[in-house]
Symmetry: C3
Subunit: 264 residues, 3 copies
């Protein structure tokens, strides 16, 4: 049997038995599965942070990797468990918007509502679908069970609104804050597609909340103390930071807020 | 060589080299071993928490998995290192009661005092038997070394007292608190074997310390603010919680305390 | 393809996508690689702690294991990425001294400056060489790519000064503090090579900062409350501790400070 790669992203932490139970269930169904922890330290119920974290690294994994996300505030309600099938990957998790970025960046071929109890761990608890639905479903997907056996195709998966950066008439760029990391660094949805190297060479300012970054740096070391500066982070997005301080707190900004690149 | 699954449960945390050293030792002896972290965040020396955590997920792993537990306040003393062989699994760890639940729930075929230095990492340190005794012993077990080579059978392994729930003459059920998780949720030893769906339908109250839960819910979302409520958790036990607060602190209870289900 | 073992030591923590991205990159290049986390909780930019942690367990891993260390305060500057080849292991990381202990304890056959972009993840970001240089380089090393293809041999790798313990004319031993762990335990560079069992039997004192340990114990349990005591730790070094307190803080010492063993 081919080695199958399954990644896990949850808000379970690592102190309890929850992650281990998921791994035991997967390996009981498919001993050839290889499991990689993406992270288990998503803030409790923060589907936006889970979506962002997945977005930043899912494509570094080999083709056909199965990415499982269990950040699931609606566990036990009637939110749907789903399987998302794209050209390159498969994704298993709750239908709560956690795959919103995937719907944008991947060629999605099918979204399946997982309904077949045969592929669940029974009895299904009300509080732990990670173990009882998502882990076993992912394991069966890794064993190449046909999706038609596992549920029905749907065409209305939940996704949260991700505004695209806008090019303004004066040449400025309006984007949004999509993530704030634990250091208070602010990640925007602006990439080099909008803020090209050509535009950068002419010089820009970046307005964030109450502050303004006067320049876009290529190395952190160049920033002055207390300086809000912008840079392109390792995930490809324009980010804003202040050395050793929280840019988010200093600028009084938060996820969803506007950010504007002003071209000189 | 068949793939052998070995799980690790310790109180070592993940910041130091301790867990890595155990893994290196295992893989040096059996390169085909596959290691799964159960958790390394057991509170220091808390054998009760380790026993409970193991109990909640060991059976989700495939048959023949080797579960290693190193929560070992007696390291360096003359407490015995043991191998517990059951119909389905093998367990390696210190003989300090950490396998007490296993002795109840599994068909135990043999408990072996591990004494053969040939299967240890030498010289054995006084402070790190996880690396020097338990990891190599588990690795040799995974290579199917005959137990007779590794030590001698014993018939008096240490176990801590786990009181069974009692059915009282008035139909009430008396149980005990067996675990308090990091959210302050209180896990009791009462299961659906005692508190059947039939009894539940008639309505019950659950007395815990200074408080009383007026109902057993199936979904957390139904609980009111500050309400102590009961529910069956994902490990199959009756648990008590208060939304966003510590039920254990509010009820002023602790591990070992009595809990009583009052039938209406 | 033979199974290749790769360990990872970083200061990335486990909450973000960084470690997962490295694993995805490695497994995309060499699906047969087996990855073991050494730790990701090195204090930010603490190359000394990373060097010590690696030293304490690298040799517990099987021959030919590839140890990757990404504690890299100079990321984006012109510090060199290197591959260290020894008789038993290979090491990949930044040339900032993090392999200083390895240069002492292993037979080093070659240090290679990794320069061939073909073996990098392109484009190489300024801030995440763990993903873009070290992970892919290690993966290609695990696929037995010839080192000549990957860069050029160098003879001046950076190493920080590790003073050897000195035997003083009066028979005393002068060593240094090489690590302080998170409990405040103080690890010195003195081993049984200097402080032999024979010397120990005659009785010694150990001077550390403002304090003196009156004895070298073999079991922690023998120490009195508030007693500074010495012992040989599981990594083979003479260590100093105070029960349930920080020996480093009580003695007012720090990494690099002198420690003296006074023979009776």
């Amino acid at each position: 049997m081919a080695k199958s790669l399954i990644t896990l992203t949850t808000d379970f932490g690592e102190a309890d038995y929850y992650v281990a139970a998921m791994k035991g269930v997967i390996l009981s169904i498919n001993p050839a599965a290889e499991i990689v922890d993406l992270t288990h330290q998503i803030a409790a119920h923060d589907i936006y942070a889970a979506a962002f974290t997945l977005k930043c690294c899912y494509a570094d994994f080999p083709k056909d990797t199965i990415h499982v996300v269990v950040v699931d505030p609606g566990v036990g309600s009637n939110r749907r468990p789903i399987l998302v099938m794209t050209d390159n990957y498969r994704f298993v998790g709750p239908d709560n918007g956690v795959f919103s970025y995937i719907y944008q960046s991947e060629q999605v071929n099918r979204v399946v509502h997982l309904t077949t109890e045969h592929y669940f761990r029974l009895p299904v608890s009300n509080t732990f679908h990670g173990r009882d639905i998502f882990a076993p479903s992912a394991a069966y997907v890794s064993k190449l069970v046909e999706w038609r056996m596992m549920g029905e195709e749907i065409d209305d998966p939940v996704h949260f609104n991700i505004p695209a950066p806008a090019m303004l008439p004066d040449g400025h760029i309006r984007g949004h804050v999509i993530h704030i990391d634990r250091f208070g660094n602010v990640i925007t949805n602006i990439t080099k597609t909008q803020l090209t190297d050509e535009v950068l060479q002419g010089g820009v300012k970046v307005r964030l909340g109450k502050l303004e970054a006067a320049r876009v740096l290529t190395h952190f070391g160049e920033a002055g103390p207390n300086e809000l500066f912008a840079y392109f982070g390792s995930a490809g997005f324009l980010e804003l930071a202040v050395p050793r301080q929280s840019a988010a707190r200093m600028a009084e900004t938060r996820r969803g807020a506007e950010v504007e690149v002003v071209v000189n």
